[in-house]
Symmetry: C2
Subunit: 209 residues, 2 copies
Amino acid sequence: MHITKTDIQNLERIKRLNLINSISGIKPANLIGTKNDRGISNLAIFSSVIHLGSNPALFGMILRPTGEVPRHTYENILFDGKYTINHVPQSIIKKAHYTSAKFDESVSEFEACALTEEYIDGFSAPFVKECSLKLGLSHKQSIPIEANNTILVIGQVEHILIPDEMIKDTYMLDLSISNTVGISGLNTYYALTKMESFPYARVEELPSF
Amino acid sequence: MHITKTDIQNLERIKRLNLINSISGIKPANLIGTKNDRGISNLAIFSSVIHLGSNPALFGMILRPTGEVPRHTYENILFDGKYTINHVPQSIIKKAHYTSAKFDESVSEFEACALTEEYIDGFSAPFVKECSLKLGLSHKQSIPIEANNTILVIGQVEHILIPDEMIKDTYMLDLSISNTVGISGLNTYYALTKMESFPYARVEELPSF
């Protein structure tokens, strides 16, 4: 099937959202934890976290502009400067998904979705106890994307909380140990099964195909 | 285990690359196809493709700056204005991985890695015949990211080539039909197994957890 730019524009809105949100492939499922100016915690699922660089350790995520819908996560990041990224494990996909409902800002999604806040000394943003792999970040920069009025929010890693058994000699992580899931589209969750690791690719060491 | 910002800075370079590249979760595995000013095709694996918006249908990807290493993909996108995003299926993960070797610009990775170029009328960039789900894009905007001197390259979807059987009533895609894989870190490939789809989350329709 061949779908053109015009076909995409003419698709019914929900079909277009489903199609275009799925079509770049698998996305990471992460819960973003923040705290607002009244001390109320917030938790929201995002599939747009992206690796920007390792030294310094920087991650980005794409946010919709503040507009008709309140965007508590971004307001809290601007207020507090800190946020957490928590890998969603298989055991909590339903709870994680429902953090996307539009709760009033007086409601903590931790409570509404039966998840548990966890803190470390000297870091204000809440981690998710049910997640085994989690990051604490400081907000570094926000870049407006003119093409569609979104924002790339960039943070630097301050803390990594990770199960001992995930750290091997090489520091390559096996995401099946943390039971980390992926998302396609807006609401479909996938389990991950490790297939194979290949060496760093060099022209003079090509295998036979 | 608790790893701090200082620990990350003090890690040996390869360990840091492995750790930080894995720690945001699963990433999509896509082959980016382009053509240079001499008509030679180029193919490179990227795990940084990200959904930016559905109307218009925009995708971004993060590129390292042109510097000591030549970045043929970006040069070609700037020259031609067109590129393709091809989902890597399970059957070609080894070939796809080795497109990351630093081939001379006179060498097409299609030929070096035993993959097949495919074209559609009126679109100059090469698709990958072995991939069942593929996109043709026009370059829209490049945004420099000052925090670490990378570039967010943004393109709009012009064409979607997709197996008929992936299109259901809702236009939600099941990535297991296209055998699409994910990547963690720099070189580990994962198969995807669909777990569950949830409805759009509404506060007044919360399930019991």
